[in-house]
Subunit: 428 residues, 2 copies
């Protein structure tokens, strides 16, 4: 079939009629399918079931330090074996890791909140400044943007290119505007595009010359070990080490969790950063809590053992996720390829496929798909303030449904894209 | 022996010499004993060991709602069965409970932080006000005072009487000063005195007429079911219900956790409040996290079953704790009773005994005890800013050591009290 833009009005109208019939047919099936959130499937959760039994009433519940009963109060920064495991996962030395609770989102929230209340390493608390700005590579993760919005931080869109954020723009803004205090990054298998930052991009990040001393890179390495393929993988440079080499050891906060390794909501999360940053974070943490759940830390270490154990485990996740990504990509390629009404990413890992519809079509596509029972992430959600200036980007989350459901859902999705695109072209 | 104050200088000097010999003897033993923090003992932790096995790889990990897989994302406010259990523990209906993470201290921290950032139910964020004040019944809990100090909230000491805070003073300050936004309360087996608030006190709290609409009572019911005796128990009126009856349904935040029921650090915590307050809290929470650890919620419900199960469990804690409180009280009575150099509380529950030395002696007593290897809570810790105006109060935490260790530690403690008191009297 030829590109829609090259069709005559008559051809479009004829096609529209035919597609509408198809749409009414699937709509009549009364399906209920969800491609909205990056939620692991039941089969993935079953992979970690052995973790339930790993601590028994007969188990030794002492930390390897020989003095810490993991059942009792004590140890603010995490038991040593959990620090070792998450340090390895974060590719940093143990001295650079601080364990938090069950959610890296909460670590990010607390980190911004801490900067608002107490400043960073002695800086003026952001809450006392007239203006605080964050750079937001777009499309990006809605929950990042929600945190900065809650705290009244002004968000500036930065285009996310194929090798990372537009670094010319980042360097310009960071080096000239003292009110720019941070940037949200998902450096690997980015949410939602799947883009991974190139070595050059990471090095440019590490070599930033911020106008603000308390500028920090918020490096959410959510998908650091979440590959889809054994033989094709993105590898990114380790940012903390690059920052140290560049003379900027304190410039980055790395966030990590096992939410999509073990159990979402019942994993463990951590902050990786320079020792000076961690001292600062730990001081604030000492007001928040006596300590995090050390039994759950121990449970993770006993179950995974070490990074080899975790890597093996991630291969099993990949085996479940891969066919799901592939079926979505297959339907998209078959049904929309060459029509000039949409483009999409083909990530090698992570949890999302990013789809760009024709300008001004995203909201209508999501609404249309919903009519036939397919829930997509809200259009606009991938932009600060929920405002996609082109109304074009749609996040596809293929992890939760089965392959069969995904096939059905993606077919409804492409039908919606076609119908909305025709509508748009007819109006033009 | 007669009261020290009635002794002649010669008698005091002779006694001092004799006590110093005793002190050198125990000091030579090189003991290391800790009565500083309210930490459960190993025997108490062993009581909950069965919880380790309660969720197995074969267990049904679905919530009783029939749709929530507790291993996955979802459910911000806690699974229904956990809400039921903690609602019962808090003596409120299920609609008035919101489950948080592993620490009620963190819930309190977040609640103050939320008020600073977002205000309460539409009020001006406290962070934007020139002055925010909290009333602090003293002696009280150091970690409460640390939170308010961190946020720059001015703390006002309120004497804690035998039936609760000085309510004349509370009523006066709350009704006339709009900058008074909260009061820290441990209403039952108060930390450190063990005092429980009388019905009259609770009713006066519920009937406060605050000048500030966003004034809240921070009701930390940390020891709600933590009795020492079967036949002698403090019972306090349920504050939320009293507030509702008084037309002040939104005036109280109740905090609760299972830290000293199951495992410190691996328990579950909750906020109990009016539905309007919980809506407000939930909205903020939706920025912080996708959800708390539902597997740990399920673990608690499966293990305790219901409040009867929890009450039975608490009897076992009491059996372990009771002899510890009794040995401390026995040594205190035998060694210091009638000497006029100290008084102490005899709580029916909770985790602490509060000791009042002669004015100006607390710091010296704690330092003296440390010389002989006994660690006490830092003198002053029970007051805002760490400043006990009379330098008199010392918190004794008898839960962690064994009965034998407590006997030895308390004997060193009383020896220290005697020596410091004589010193003081000789200086006078």
């Amino acid at each position: 079939m030829k590109p829609y833009a090259q069709m005559t009005k008559e051809e479009l109208l004829a096609l529209k009629e035919q597609l509408e019939l198809q749409f009414e047919e699937v709509k009549a099936k009364g399906l209920s399918l969800d491609m909205s959130r990056g939620k692991p499937s039941k089969a993935q959760l079953d992979l970690s079931l052995g973790m339930m039994d790993i601590l028994s009433s007969e188990a030794d519940l002492m930390s390897r330090d020989g003095v810490t009963d993991c059942r009792n109060y004590g140890i603010l920064d995490g038991i040593p074996e959990a620090r070792k495991l998450l340090a390895d996962m974060s590719e940093v030395p143990e001295r650079n890791i601080l364990i938090y609770g069950n959610s890296s989102l909460n670590v990010m929230f607390d980190t911004v909140a801490r900067a608002m209340v107490s400043g960073i390493m002695g800086s003026t608390p952001w809450g006392r400044l007239d203006k605080v700005k964050f750079l937001c590579p777009v499309p990006g993760y809605d929950r990042h943007f929600a945190i900065t919005e809650l705290f009244g931080i002004e968000m500036i869109n930065i285009p996310l290119l194929s090798d990372g954020p537009d670094m010319d723009m980042v360097e310009e803004l960071v080096s000239t505007d003292e009110s720019v205090k941070g940037i949200w990054c998902v450096p690997k298998y980015s949410n939602p595009t799947g883009v991974s930052y190139s070595d050059k991009t990471v090095k440019r990040f590490a070599n930033l010359k911020p106008a603000a001393k308390d500028f920090r890179i918020f490096w959410d390495n959510a998908y650091s070990i979440h590959h889809l393929y054994e033989d094709k993988r993105d590898i990114i440079l380790e940012i903390l080490n690059e920052c140290i080499k560049a003379g900027n050891p304190d410039m980055v906060f790395k966030f990590i969790s096992t939410s999509k390794v073990s159990f979402p909501g019942s994993g463990i999360a951590a902050l990786a950063a320079s020792e000076a940053n961690l001292e600062d974070a730990k001081k604030y943490m000492s007001y928040q809590t006596i300590g995090h759940d050390k039994l759950n830390q121990l449970r993770h270490v006993r179950y995974f053992g070490d990074m080899h154990g975790m890597y093996n485990h991630m291969r099993k996740h990949a085996d479940i996720l891969r066919p799901k990504f592939e079926i979505v990509e297959e339907v998209l390629a078959k049904e929309i390829g060459g029509l000039g009404i949409g483009s999409w990413t083909k990530p090698l890992g992570g949890y999302f496929i990013s789809f760009d519809a024709m300008e001004g079509c995203a909201k209508a596509v999501v609404a249309k798909a919903k009519e036939a029972g397919v829930v997509m992430t809200k259009a606009g959600a991938t932009y600060p303030y929920g405002k996609d200036p082109k109304d074009s980007n749609i996040r596809i989350a293929p992890s939760f449904p089965t392959v069969e459901e995904l096939k059905a859902a993606t077919e409804i999705f492409v039908l919606s894209v076609k119908l909305v695109s025709i509508e748009k072209l007819l109006q033009a």
